[in-house]
Amino acid sequence: MVRRLRQLRSIRDTIAPGALALLAVTAIGATGCGSDSSSKGAAAASAAAKLTGTPIKIGFLDPSVGAGGITQPAPGAKAAVDQINANGGVNGHPISLKACKVDQTPEKNISCANSFVQDGVVAVVDGFDTGSGAVLPILHSAKIPLVGALAFTPEFETDVAGSYSFGANQATFAIGPLQSFKQQGFNTVAFTQADVPASRGYYEGFIVPAARSFGLTFKPVYFPRDSPDFQTIASTLVATHPDIAGSAGLADEGKCTALVSGLRNAGDDKPIFAGFCTQYLKQLGAKAGTTEVYSSVWLPEMRQYAPPAVQQQLDTAVNALKSVPDGQKGYYTYATYAAVMTLGKVLGTVHGTVDSASLVAALKATKNMPAVLGPPITCDRKVWPRSSTCTQGLLVAQAQPDGSLKPLGSGFETVSPALVPKPPSK
């Protein structure tokens, strides 16, 4: 870890063009602590008002509406923009966030993409909407990049032409936990997921073959998206006698809690994998038992295990999100916050006019840039074949009795593309 920190510092020192932006963003850590949120908000607004540069418009797909909408990402995006603007913006230019509410349908995403193009945004940040793949034809046409904390849809994942994910790709998230399970001595894994093409593709395209290559027995259990009965689903998982059961990624914290609770009610006393969820820790307390999660960024629950520099970033992030009630923030909030902050850093490396073309050039030139709360990113398309990802690192963590999440291994673990099983020849 020490070696990695040294490596990061040396990389940071070599990125001269972005020095101003880096200064602005790293200053966040120093300014964020100790002040109350209202006075800080007023200070942020006042600082942003003093910025005289042309605003840099960024679109944000806010997935907070509709049945199944998630409200966690939006506060993260807003807090990041406020923080960047409060610390001098991007080379003197304030960021203007154009949020557009989407409801997982392609229609709403297309409508938002149209408005982003009209507004002249330089980039669009995906807030984990399952319908965001529909924006790609429009953004491609207008040469606007789609950026996100994770490639949340298969379209985003495979779009090497115009999308940039600051988190690990789907194969890494499939293989990473399996690698960890194997190291922990587990042999049988049973995961559940909503029965929609994207998750079926993810499970059967990545997890099943990867599990086979690790010598693990993997049992997928699919449930109807609109009418999941989690007690029945949990019992179905338990009936496969797994060493670890759970889900690779339920976007809904309430469903996570229902699943963990259902597994315990069904008599499962083995470890549970809860994907990106964390709220079940508070809701179920000790009843949750031994659980594991994964993440693309450091979370507040992991603070005591994070490197000092990251601890400072976490403190800043927690302070920036202090006004958001506990029940309404989690992985998706911090990951979105981190993605927008990291985008701000990349924008800071742009020479001259900031537009979508210069941003794309800056993204492609990004090499080993330390991402906020995350591993270094390199967006030259060589990190993973045929993937929009800029990094390979992910954290797998285990819940501790004190409610903290302790990473397994030495922090961000990487997965080699060589571990991805080849598709069977026809």
Binding site: G66, A67, K101, P137, S141, G201, V221, D252, G254, K255
Partner: protein, 666 residues
């Protein structure tokens, strides 16, 4: 074997919800003759209230909230059930009582509107994600025949059975219950005996929704609580209520429990290696659809209908006149709207034009033929998904691709129309809604049909000319918009020509009275199948245009809820004529009005809520829709001007033969 028993018992929790809702549906149908599609969404309000009182300590109201502090189990449960009952009573007094003598379509539309309102309200007030509900019943297990059986599920099933017994006893042994049953046979006689059917109906509405709320609250820690789960639980509940022929509470209750158990067993069996891959996705949603179709096909003609006071008026229909100035003026207005707008607003205009075609499919089938279909968007989806395969896999060129895919949708329409030969009214709405849900789950969401990269659609080209919707920052190219305008105008005019001829008159005759139509030589079955085919063709062509305008499609473009919302918009516009379809297109979701409004005042999550409220209000106060009301006002104005000019009383006789047909068609 013990595992099968264990899963059968686990499914009783969901089964108890189906049972409670089915008992409520049967009770309301017996008391009022209304099939309440909103039963699940209304009852779920009680469970949400309970969860909120036990969680944050807030009593959440449709507007505002009162902080009462975190309540103990008993008071929270009592308040939850009481609020659900209040929702039932309010819906009776405000919505369904005024609609008692309205046609089945108005009642279905109001009930569907209420379903949209309640679901949207739950999303807005309680959030779209699953709510955490603390356990109410014991979560342990008992061991029987080697199986660990869930005590909670057994208790919920027992409570649902007790409630069903109570409901049965009310109708059989109490004076009010017997009077309610008598009212179903002859409402006039009931009034003469001194009973108030409204008061009897109010008791049933309050009790059915309240008790539904109780069972949902008890089941929610096990089954879960989110805005969609209980909204759609109404479909299996309707399925089992229909198995009980909308009369037998006992059959409804037992079938509900059996269906829940069966679905849980299917969930378990689908993990077995021998279970076919293609039958994993959506099979749980397909089962209720199969039950509905079989029940209606077997029992349909023998389903009881409620006696009513006086003649029920059908919604007014305006036979298309196709006056050249009006047609040319409308087309010119569309062309002007395309030319004068740009970017997102022009995309809104484009969406509006496609919605006109989709709305025309409702006008043909529901407006003229009187068949209530909630599956129009499923027809559009079938064509859209087929377009993806045809253009990317088989390279079928434009515009042949549109004709082939729309014809495929027409074939599916004919298949759906077969049950309509034997059933009608609200029962047909049940079949088509169940079909829409099962097609969404079983077909559109089936990974065997949808590749990982989505259902992409190749850009249209004609004789080498690129007709693609966008190029660079030009979001909506003129050439694509005019292509769509031409297709919409051609198909709309063809449909209008059909409706103003013999076929249209036959449709109106069937709508008015099937027996009378048959007696004058009209082939009723043929008419219904032809109506479904034409309507599905129009919906399919709209589906292909949606596909070409998006570039790729997913199941979320064609959800059952979107289809239901579209019916709402078409009904708001006026389902009885082309002008109504145009109004629906202009005001429909993501159409030009929506786009402009959303740009100026961000409607966000409130759009669905506003649509639902508008639908309910229209169904009550203005059953002829916006276009119909405007036309009536215009006709009145013209009549007054004529009267003033001639100095005599306005001649209110129908001016045209078509109007005469329409008037007599009521």
């Amino acid at each position: 074997m013990s595992l099968y028993l264990q899963f059968a018992v686990l499914g009783l929790a969901a089964g108890a919800v189906y049972s409670a809702l089915a008992v409520g549906l049967i009770a309301v149908y017996r008391a009022t003759g209304i099939l309440n599609f909103a039963a699940g969404a209304m009852s779920a309000w009680g469970a949400y209230t309970f969860a909120s009182l036990r969680g944050s300590g807030d009593l959440v109201l449709p507007v505002g909230r009162i902080h009462v502090g975190v309540l103990a189990l008993g008071p929270a449960l009592a308040i939850g059930v009481a609020t659900a009952a209040a929702v039932g009573l309010l819906s009776h007094w405000l919505v369904f009582r005024p609609l008692r003598r309205s046609p089945a379509l108005a009642q279905v539309v109001a009930s569907v509107g209420l379903m949209i309102v309640m679901q949207a309200l739950e999303v807005v007030r309680f959030g779209g994600q699953a709510a955490y509900v603390t356990a109410i019943l014991p979560s342990g297990t008992v061991h029987v025949l080697g199986a660990s059986l869930s005590v909670g599920a057994l208790l919920i099933a027992g409570i649902a059975c007790l409630l069903a017994l109570g409901a049965g006893a009310y109708f059989r042994f109490t004076r009010l219950g017997v009077a309610t049953r008598a009212g179903a046979e002859d409402e006039l006689a009931l009034r003469l005996m001194g009973h108030s059917p409204d008061r009897l109906a109010a008791i049933v509405w309050g009790a059915s929704i309240g008790l539904g709320g109780l069972v949902i609250t008890l089941a929610s820690p096990t089954v879960g609580l989110n805005p969609t789960i209980y909204t759609w639980a109404v479909i299996p509940a309707l399925a089992v209520a229909l198995l009980g022929r909308l009369v037998s509470i006992g059959t409804g209750c037992a079938s509900g429990l059996a269906l829940g158990s069966f679905q849980a067993l299917v969930q378990f069996l689908a993990t077995k290696s021998w279970w076919p891959d293609w039958a994993v996705t959506g099979v749980q949603d397909a089962v209720p659809f199969a039950v509905v179709v079989v029940a209606l096909f077997v029992f349909g003609p023998r389903m009881p209908s409620r006696g009513s006071l006086g003649e029920i008026r059908l919604p007014k229909v305006t036979v298309p006149q196709l006056r050249p100035p009006v047609v040319l003026g409308t087309v010119a207005a569309g062309a002007l709207a395309i030319v004068l707008t740009s970017g997102g607003t022009r995309f809104g205009v484009l969406t509006s034009m496609i919605l006109v075609l989709l709305a025309m499919s409702y006008v043909v089938l529901t407006g003229f033929l009187g068949q209530i279909s909630l599956a129009q968007l499923a027809f559009a989806g079938v064509a859209g998904f087929a377009l993806s395969k045809l253009t990317t896999g088989w390279h079928i060129p434009f515009p042949l691709s549109i004709l082939v895919c729309s014809s495929l949708a027409a074939l599916v329409g004919i298949a759906v129309g077969i049950p309509a030969v034997r059933i009608r009214g609200a029962q047909l709405a049940v079949v088509t809604l169940a079909l829409a849900v099962s097609v969404e789950s079983f077909v559109f969401n089936n990974p065997k049909l949808t590749p990982l990269s989505g259902n992409k659609i190749a850009d249209p080209k004609l004789f080498g000319a690129d007709l693609a919707v966008r190029s660079g920052a030009d979001l909506t190219r003129l050439v694509f918009c005019f292509t769509v305008l031409a297709i919409v105008v051609i198909f709309t005019l063809l449909a209008a020509q059909l409706l103003r001829g013999d076929t249209g008159r036959a449709f109106l005759a069937v709508r008015s009275n099937e027996r009378a139509a048959a007696s004058v030589g009209i082939n009723v079955a043929w008419c219904k199948l032809a109506g479904f085919a034409v309507s599905a063709f129009l919906a399919g062509s709209a589906g292909t245009l949606i596909g070409y305008s998006r570039g790729q499609l997913s199941a979320d473009s064609f959800t059952a809820l979107t289809g239901v919302s579209l019916l709402a918009i078409v009904y708001l516009g006026g389902i009885g004529g082309i002008s109504g379809a145009v109004v629906a297109g202009v005001t429909g979701p993501l159409g030009v009005v929506y786009t402009v409004l959303n740009d100026s005042i961000n409607m966000g999550e409130y759009y669905v809520l506003v649509t639902g409220v508008g639908l309910v209000v229209t169904a009550i106060f203005n059953p002829i829709g916006v276009a119909g009301a405007t036309r009536e006002h215009w006709d009145g104005l013209v009549a007054r001007v004529r009267a003033r000019r001639s100095g005599s009383a306005a001649d209110d006789r129908p001016a045209r033969a078509e109007e005469l047909v329409t008037e007599h068609g009521r």
